[in-house]
């Protein structure tokens, strides 16, 4: 993002946050697999696939915009 200052792109931080949240939500979804919470459509196990999606997106962002790589 910044050629003048060589700042780590904001996209890297976005990826990092999504990755961390993805792991937390995914693991949380797995631990409650046998005993889903009392939410509507809990049988769809949304935390598992939503957490997985965050892990994939976060991972891609972290890799593509990792510090030291100048393109954005």
């Amino acid at each position: 993002m910044s050629e003048k200052h060589h700042i780590i792109p904001v996209w890297f931080f976005v990826g990092l946050l999504l990755l961390i949240y993805g792991v937390l939500i995914f693991v949380s979804g797995l631990t409650e697999w046998a005993h889903p919470p009392g939410t509507v459509l809990a049988e769809l196990h949304a935390p598992v696939w939503w957490g997985g999606l965050l892990i994939v997106l976060g991972g891609v962002y972290c890799f593509v915009f990792r510090p030291g790589k100048t393109s954005c």
């Binding site: 993002m1 919470p37 459509l41 949304a46």
Partner: protein, 574 residues
């Protein structure tokens, strides 16, 4: 927003909507840790005035565009518009579509070149170059005061929301969130504010998008949702945008289509999106003029999609919630919920541990990003448009950066003071919010005339702005305080016009007043010489053309695409 506040204030002590688990709390704590770490990381890059106040003018169009749209995506707006969607149906999407998209495209294609080429730091800064210190001073002082008061009002309102939704202590919410914002904005300036806004944008989408997805699965798609709504609310139309607007009496908003098209689309949204420095500052950080033109247009596509996570959950709630929500009122009995609680209720309906934390973090992030936007804009306007021209003209750049950092902290403490003032005198909030609205619509007239007509004079700009503002205040007092039965039909054109409709027409007439006075005074005063207006006025500015840019990289192409998409959406949901 004041209604949301009043509702939450009234109910705040009686119950909380959601219960957080350990993983939810971990998600919230990680967010606070990350934004503080980013603030400290960015501190070393915010050394010059341009770095601190304009993020070095090196943001890409995507970053500036996301920050631009995110600065307006505050938590209270999300909660409030989701509640409006429950109350009025998809008509509430007007504020995201015709009430935003044309103005964003207009900013990008028509106005941004002048802001950018003039190298101004702010909107009052442009007024100073174009008109002189009178119009600029009026604009700067009102903006600085109102911004910081609004920040305090939002701070308290959000703390009350946190109390109701999560059971958090009000003082804890105010101090933890504001000190966090103070630290990272004082450290990294606009760099920090923009980084946080981009983070917030992603958090809001990933925190809220599951609601419409799971809601649509539960109802069996759009037709299933409409069928359920018709069963729950027989005879009421919640899924059409324009059809019920033939007359004021045909819809619960009390709005006629002329109010939406001319009041909202042509004046109020234009005023907000093109002259409110809080949002314009994000675009001024763009690295070149093409990026500056593209940023609001990129933002317009995302803005067009926001109803998916705000309006659709409100409409879905009409179909799936087992209870009927009620108007905002003090002391609702246990088990009853008001319209503005619809988003937390839908979140709690579908999201268990982890996902709930993500949704709540999105709300917290939206609140903090809004506060950061307010204090960074305040610091810029105070330093460059009040302190430098009137108090200390010849200090080194380093001094102004230091002033910006101190201003950020002082601004936050004033905001905290305002928050506690509102805690004691809740009615102050209505006045502060009304005051903010007084300046935006006439300011649009002043800025636009200044850009497009070189004949407009120094005193015409100032007197037009003043007259427009005074007319807005007068109309507000007459319609709200003096005699609503007499004056609402006069200014808002119908006795059926409700609050939102009154706002639309108040904006329209104040802008017309500004334009008329500006033109009349111009005809009797002496214009500035051409050489003083180069780079500031359309006929005297060489705007870089884009013949050499590939077709798909031209801002005009994407601006037209945004407008075509807007028309298609209107037809689909007519």
């Amino acid at each position: 927003m004041s209604q949301i506040f009043a509702m939450f204030l009234a109910e705040g002590i009686t119950h909380k909507i959601v219960q957080l688990s350990a993983v939810d709390l971990a998600i919230i704590v990680i967010y606070f840790g990350l934004v503080l770490a980013i603030g400290f990381y960015l501190k070393k890059f915010a050394k010059t005035g341009e770095d601190f106040f304009l993020a070095g003018r090196e943001m890409t169009a995507w970053v500036a565009g996301l920050a631009f749209v995110s600065a307006n995506l505050g938590s209270l707006e999300l909660l409030g518009w989701a509640g409006s969607a429950y109350q009025y149906g998809i008509m509430a999407a007007h504020w995201y579509w015709i009430g935003a998209i044309p103005a964003m495209v207009f900013l990008g294609l028509v106005m941004m070149p002048f802001y950018y080429i003039s190298k101004t730091h702010s909107v009052p800064g442009y007024l100073k170059l174009r008109y002189g210190s009178e119009a600029a001073g009026l604009s700067a002082i009102t903006f600085a005061v109102m911004t910081i008061l609004m920040s305090g009002v939002n701070m308290y309102a959000m703390a009350v929301v946190m109390k109701v939704v999560l059971g958090w202590d009000i003082n804890f919410s105010i101090w933890v969130s504001s000190l966090t914002v103070g630290v990272y904005v004082a450290a990294g300036g606009l760099f920090s504010a923009i980084f946080n806004e981009v983070l917030q944008f992603f958090l809001i989408w990933f925190g809220a998008l599951l609601i419409p997805i799971l809601g649509m699965i539960e109802t069996g798609g759009w037709s299933g949702m409409v069928a359920r709504i018709q069963a729950n609310f027989p005879g009421q139309d919640f899924t059409h945008m324009w059809r019920p607007m033939g007359s004021f009496a045909d819809n619960p908003m009390g709005i006629h289509w002329t109010g939406i098209v001319f009041g909202l689309g042509a004046v109020q949204s234009m005023g907000y999106w093109t002259t409110d420095f809080l949002v314009v500052q994000r675009v001024l950080s763009a690295k070149d003029i093409r990026s500056a033109k593209l940023a609001p247009i990129i933002g317009s596509f995302f803005k067009m999609a926001v109803p998916l996570i705000v309006i659709l959950p409100g409409v879905l709630a009409l179909a799936v919630l087992p209870m009927h929500l009620v108007p905002n009122a003090p002391n609702l009995p246990p088990g009853e919920h008001s319209y503005n609680e619809v988003l937390p209720l839908m979140l709690a309906r579908y999201c268990g541990p982890g996902l709930l934390g993500l949704g709540i973090t999105a709300l917290v992030a939206g609140f903090m990003a809004g506060m950061a936007g307010n204090v960074s804009a305040f610091a810029t306007v105070w330093t460059y448009d009040i302190y430098r021209p009137y108090l200390n003209k010849r200090a080194p750049d380093k001094h102004y950066v230091s002033m910006g950092r101190w201003c950020t902290l002082i601004g936050l403490f004033i905001s905290i003071g305002t928050a506690y003032l509102v805690m004691g005198f809740a009615s102050i909030m209505d006045y502060v919010q009304a005051l903010f609205g007084f300046f935006i619509a006439p300011l649009f007239g002043t800025v636009l005339l200044g850009m497009l007509w070189k004949r407009v004079t120094r005193w015409a700009g100032f007197l037009g702005l003043l007259a427009g503002t005074l007319s807005s205040i007068t109309m507000f007092l007459l319609m709200q305080k003096v005699d609503p039965h007499r004056w609402v039909p006069v200014f808002a054109l119908s006795p059926h016009a409700k609050g939102l409709a009154q706002d639309m027409y108040q904006s329209l007439w104040s802008c017309v007043t500004c334009v008329v006075v500006t033109v009349l005074v111009t005809l009797f005063t002496k214009p500035k010489p051409d050489e003083e207006l180069r780079g500031l006025v359309y006929s005297l500015t060489e705007v870089a053309h884009e013949e050499h840019t590939s077709f798909w990289h031209r801002p005009a192409v994407w601006g037209i695409a945004a407008l075509v998409l807007l028309v298609i959406l209107q037809i689909i949901f007519w």
